[in-house]
């Protein structure tokens, strides 16, 4: 808690800090773009310069970060909880609509076939009755549509708010993880890591957490919807659902969760990278 506040206030007090931090993130990504460009455009000439180059290839960075997440599942779990809950909620809300649409559609289709059957049965007798029923139908969907739009807006608001809270949760958990690892970060710097490497490691870590957390969130969200509609409407409901849009919802959940994790990790990653190595080494002694 405290560390979050400290970081934010530091960033607020000193605009240079945040500007510099953002530059770091850009650098972390651009370094490889530049190197690629260099190699593409006459790598031979750049050779003497590259000789003094320190680098951390993406596969190695990925391996290190993945290891770091998997071996510290407790800490990663705390960071991921926010994402899991947020994405579960989002998936629940969106797939709820798909399910209810599916159920509605199925009911309408059933009604229509029933009506058609009924009509064919009492065609000669009850012609005026059918006319009476007809005007009713447009009125009901209209009313439900307006309440539906309102409900959608409220749900969107809820989803956005919950995602925001999740993001802050991740930022906080990652800041804690940075504080815990001051010494490790300082050591890496002593071994020749550039600030950009540290940013890269933390961002990859966060993306891994984001992907795992979102996946868990999606599964939980879908399970909840399935249970809810399964109990309410019977489990045959799965046949009536538009699985194409459900898959899209899952994809959205994954992307949103991952991007959110990535964005929330930027302040902690910057904080980690900007630490002078001497300070980092002192802090645990």
């Amino acid at each position: 808690m405290q560390s979050t506040r400290k970081c934010w206030s530091r960033a607020e007090l000193d605009p240079r800090l945040s500007a510099c931090g953002l530059r770091l993130v850009v650098k972390a990504v651009m370094m490889d773009v530049k190197k690629l460009a260099k190699v593409a455009g006459g790598g031979g000439q750049a050779a003497p310069q590259i000789q003094k180059q320190i680098n951390l290839p993406w596969p190695d960075a990925f391996r290190i970060s993945l290891r770091s997440v998997l071996l510290r599942l407790g800490r990663a779990g705390i960071a991921a909880t926010g994402i899991v809950l947020g994405v579960a909620f989002l998936t629940y809300v969106w797939s709820d609509r798909i399910f209810s649409d599916g159920v509605e559609k199925a009911r309408l289709a059933q009604e229509q076939t029933l009506a058609a059957a009924a009509e064919s049965v009492r065609k000669p007798a009850a012609a005026p009755e059918a006319e009476q029923g007809a005007p009713d139908q447009p009125v009901a969907p209209d009313a439900s549509q307006s309440t539906k739009a309102e409900k959608d807006a409220r749900q969107l608001w809820l989803v956005v708010m919950s995602l925001l809270v999740c993001g802050i949760g991740i930022t906080n958990a990652m800041l804690m993880s940075v504080t815990e690892r001051f010494q490790e970060i300082g050591t890496m710097k002593c071994l020749g890591a550039l600030d950009a490497f540290i940013v890269r490691l933390f961002l990859i870590e966060s993306v891994v957490i984001g992907v795992l957390g979102s996946a868990a969130g999606i599964i939980i969200g879908i399970l909840f919807v399935l249970l809810y509609y399964g109990i309410k409407e019977g489990f045959s409901v799965t046949a009536k659902v538009d699985w194409g849009s459900l898959v899209m919802v899952m994809l959205y959940g994954l992307v949103i969760g991952t991007v959110l994790a990535l964005l929330s990790a930027i302040p902690p990653a910057i904080r980690a990278a900007q630490m002078p190595p001497a300070a980092a080494l002192r802090s645990e002694i």
């Binding site: 071994l191 550039l194 190595p277």
Partner: protein, 297 residues
């Protein structure tokens, strides 16, 4: 842990120390010991010879090095102007009471911190002139660090810890693994490549740290109280290891220490007090002192 085979009965002996006779058949082991020591030396020299092109006499020079910390209103002067020349291949110990500024000096020489005033030259380049990239390059390739608290990366195995600086230096992965294995073998941990730091004893962790500090064949190894967290015997082993590396490969070792055992192996000892050099002793002088003391009735 080294393995020896008795020449007469073929008994396998594992020990960290010295074996003079075979425990089984009492055969003389001196020849075997000498041979293995020679092999170790040769390997060390091959692995970590200082191959930098420039050969200035002084590898580290500091001029009027000052560092002060602002604590609220107060200014704490940790270093008050240090002039120090360190010769290539020297084993230098920095001694002084707690709070005298040893770690501060260590950080400045290692490029981990910036001086308030004065300058520090490594291979005659002013550290203050280096860009962030060049500084990282220097930390990675020219200097190896050893810390009191070992500072291994806890989620990585011994081998991964040793190869991490090689990744930064852009070494190919096969070469890297090969070299990492050889270095760990050199410090006597050939059988513990895949152990995590928490699965190793303090002394073993420090050996991994020594191997890591040698990863990119540095010209200088900086050690800040490398034996501070170790018991007497283990500390002695680490000191001997450092000395061996210093003698065989010509790497310059600068070590901040409280540890009097370090005196035996140091070429020079710099005593600092309150951020200033109090006196510098040469080993010959100390030997002389001990000699006269021993000679007195």
């Amino acid at each position: 842990m080294a393995k020896y085979v008795c020449p007469s009965c073929g008994e396998k002996i594992e020990t960290t120390g010295i074996v003079t006779v075979c425990p089984k058949c009492n055969a003389d082991m001196a020849g075997v010991m000498e041979q293995s020591a020679r092999a170790l030396r040769q390997k060390a020299a091959e692995l970590i010879k200082d191959d930098s092109v420039t050969t200035h006499e002084y590898i580290v020079r500091t001029r009027g090095l000052k560092r002060s910390y602002i604590m609220g209103e107060e200014e704490v002067q940790a270093l008050r102007g240090i002039d120090l020349d360190v010769r290539r291949g020297e084993y230098l110990s920095i001694m002084g009471p707690s709070g005298s500024g040893k770690s501060t000096l260590f950080n400045l020489i290692g490029g981990l911190d910036k001086p308030t005033a004065g300058s520090c030259y490594i291979n005659e380049t002013d550290m203050a002139q280096l860009s962030a990239h060049e500084l990282a390059w220097q930390r990675c390739r020219t200097i190896g660090y050893i810390f009191q608290t070992f500072n291994l990366i806890p989620v990585m195995t011994a081998l991964e810890n040793v190869t991490l600086p090689m990744i930064f230096a852009g070494m190919g992965s096969d070469e890297m693994l090969e070299r990492g294995r050889m270095l760990l073998d050199l410090v006597g941990l050939g059988g513990r490549l895949n152990h995590k730091p928490q699965e190793l004893s303090g002394g073993q962790q420090q050996r991994v740290a020594v191997a890591r500090s040698l990863a990119n064949s540095p010209a200088i190894v900086l050690a800040d109280e490398p034996t501070g967290n170790l018991d007497l015997q283990t500390g002695k082993e680490i000191i001997e290891l450092l000395k061996e590396l210093n003698v065989e490969s010509g790497v310059t070792i600068i070590s901040a220490t409280h540890d009097l055992k370090m005196i035996d192996v140091s070429d020079r000892i710099v005593h600092i007090r309150d951020g200033q050099v109090e006196r510098i002793e040469k080993r010959e002088e100390i030997d002389l002192e001990i000699g006269t003391m021993g000679g007195q009735p």
